[in-house]
Symmetry: C2
Subunit: 241 residues, 2 copies
C-alpha cells in the first residue's frame, strides 16, 4: 500500500472527485424532485406529479452507480483512513439522497388524491415549507461539494425552521379536520406531505453531519450545533409530530 | 493483494464474521425496540416508552461502531469484489437498522400523547400489525445471518401483508376521525404510528434486498420477488397512504 503513495493519492483524488460529482448530480435530481413535487401538489399538476414518480428511478439507478464507483475505487486504490472515510461518506450521502427522492415521490403520489379533494386552506403554507426544505437540501449539498464544515453546522441549526413549519402545519391541519369532516381525508394526506418535507429536512441535516464527519473525523456534537439535544440527536425521529 | 491470498481470506472471514455479529446484535436491539414501543403504546406504559427512547442511543452508537469496524476491515484487508460487497452490505444494513430504531423511538414518543387521549378503537389492530412487523424484521435479520437469498425473497413478498394492515388502519382511523372530532388528534398520531410500522416493514425488505445483492451480486428483480412493480420498487415510498 505504501509504495508510490504520491501517485496513488493523486489518482485517488481524481476518482474521489468523480465520485463526488456523481453524488452531487444525484443530489441535484433529488432537489429538483422536491421542488417539482410541491409545485405539482400546489397546481394540481398530475402530469408533473407523474414525472416526479418516473424520474425517481433515475435517482435510484444513480445510487447503485455511486456504489459501484465507490467499490471500484476502494478495490483499486485501497484508500487509508481519511480517504476511506470520504468514500464511505459519499456512499452514505448517496443513500440519504435516494431517500429524499423517495419522499418527493411520495408527495407526488398524493397529488391525484388531493386533486380530487378540492382546494384546502393549509396548502398555502406548504409552498413556503417546500422552498425552505429545497434550500436546506441545496445548502447541505453545497457544503458537501466544498467540504465546508461551517455551512454544515448552519444546515443543522436551520433544520429547526423546518420543524416549526411542520408543527404549525400539523396543528392547522388538525383544526381543519375538526371544522369539516369532509376535510379529513385530504388533510390526512397533507399531514403526510408535511411529514415528508420535515423528514427531507432531517435528511439534509444527516448529509451535513456526514460532511462534518468526513472533514473532521468527529461526530458533530450538540455543542458544535448549538441545539438542544432532543431537537436533533438521532436525527429525524426525535421530534413529536 | 495476491500474495498469501489464503491467509488474507481466512483473516478477512473472521473480521467479516465479527462485523456481521455486530450488525445482528444491533438488529436484535431494533427488533426489541419495535416490540417494546408497540407494547408501551398498547399498555400506556410511559416508563417503557421512555426506555425505548433512551435505548435508541445504543443503536445509534452501534451503527458508528459497525462503520469503524468496516473501515478498519477495508483498510486492513483491502478486500476484493465479493468480499468488499459483503462489507458494504453490512454498512448499509446497519444504516437501515438505525432507521428502524428511529421509527420505534418515534412510536414510543407518541405514547404520552395517546395516553392522555383515552382508549381508541383502532389500537386493537396495531398489536397484530406490530407483531407482523417484528417477525418480518426478525426474518430479514435471519436471512442476513445465514446469507439466505430464498428467505430474503420471501421477506419482500410478505411485506405486502404489512401494507394491507396499514391501508386498513388508514381507512379505519379516518372513519374514526369522522365519527368523533375529539378522536382526531389521537387518531392523527396513530396514523403516524401505523405509517412508522409500515416503513419498518419496508426497511425489512431493504435489508432483504441487500442480503440478496451481497449474496448474488445482482439486484432482486420484480420477477424474483413476484410482486407488481409499484408495490415495492424504490422501496418504502411507492405506496399510497
Amino acid at each position: 500500500m505504501n509504495n508510490g503513495t504520491m501517485h496513488t493519492i493523486r489518482a485517488f483524488d481524481e476518482d474521489l472527485d468523480q465520485l463526488r460529482v456523481q453524488v452531487l448530480e444525484m443530489g441535484g435530481l433529488a432537489e429538483a424532485a422536491i421542488t417539482a413535487s410541491v409545485d405539482a401538489m400546489i397546481h394540481r399538476d398530475l402530469e408533473g406529479a407523474l414525472r416526479v414518480v418516473e424520474n425517481d428511478r433515475r435517482i435510484d439507478a444513480m445510487e447503485l452507480e455511486v456504489e459501484r464507483l465507490a467499490v471500484r475505487l476502494i478495490a483499486l486504490r485501497a484508500p487509508m483512513a481519511d480517504d476511506l472515510r470520504s468514500v464511505i461518506a459519499a456512499l452514505k450521502i448517496a443513500g440519504v439522497i435516494e431517500r429524499m427522492g423517495d419522499y418527493a415521490k411520495n408527495i407526488a403520489k398524493r397529488v391525484p388524491v388531493l386533486d380530487a379533494a378540492g382546494p384546502l386552506e393549509p396548502i398555502s403554507v406548504l409552498p413556503a415549507m417546500g422552498r425552505a426544505v429545497s434550500h436546506l437540501v441545496k445548502d447541505a449539498l453545497d457544503a458537501y461539494a466544498n467540504g465546508d464544515t461551517e455551512s454544515a453546522v448552519l444546515v443543522c441549526q436551520r433544520d429547526r425552521e423546518i420543524d416549526d413549519f411542520y408543527n404549525s402545519l400539523f396543528r392547522t391541519l388538525l383544526t381543519y379536520m375538526m371544522e369539516q369532516p369532509h376535510n379529513i381525508t385530504p388533510s390526512a394526506h397533507l399531514l403526510f406531505v408535511a411529514k415528508n418535507l420535515e423528514r427531507i429536512g432531517d435528511h439534509a441535516t444527516n448529509v451535513a453531519e456526514m460532511v462534518y464527519y468526513a472533514a473532521t473525523g468527529e461526530q458533530m456534537t450538540e455543542r458544535t450545533r448549538g441545539n438542544d439535544t432532543t431537537a436533533n440527536l438521532g436525527a429525524n425521529m426525535e421530534k413529536q409530530a
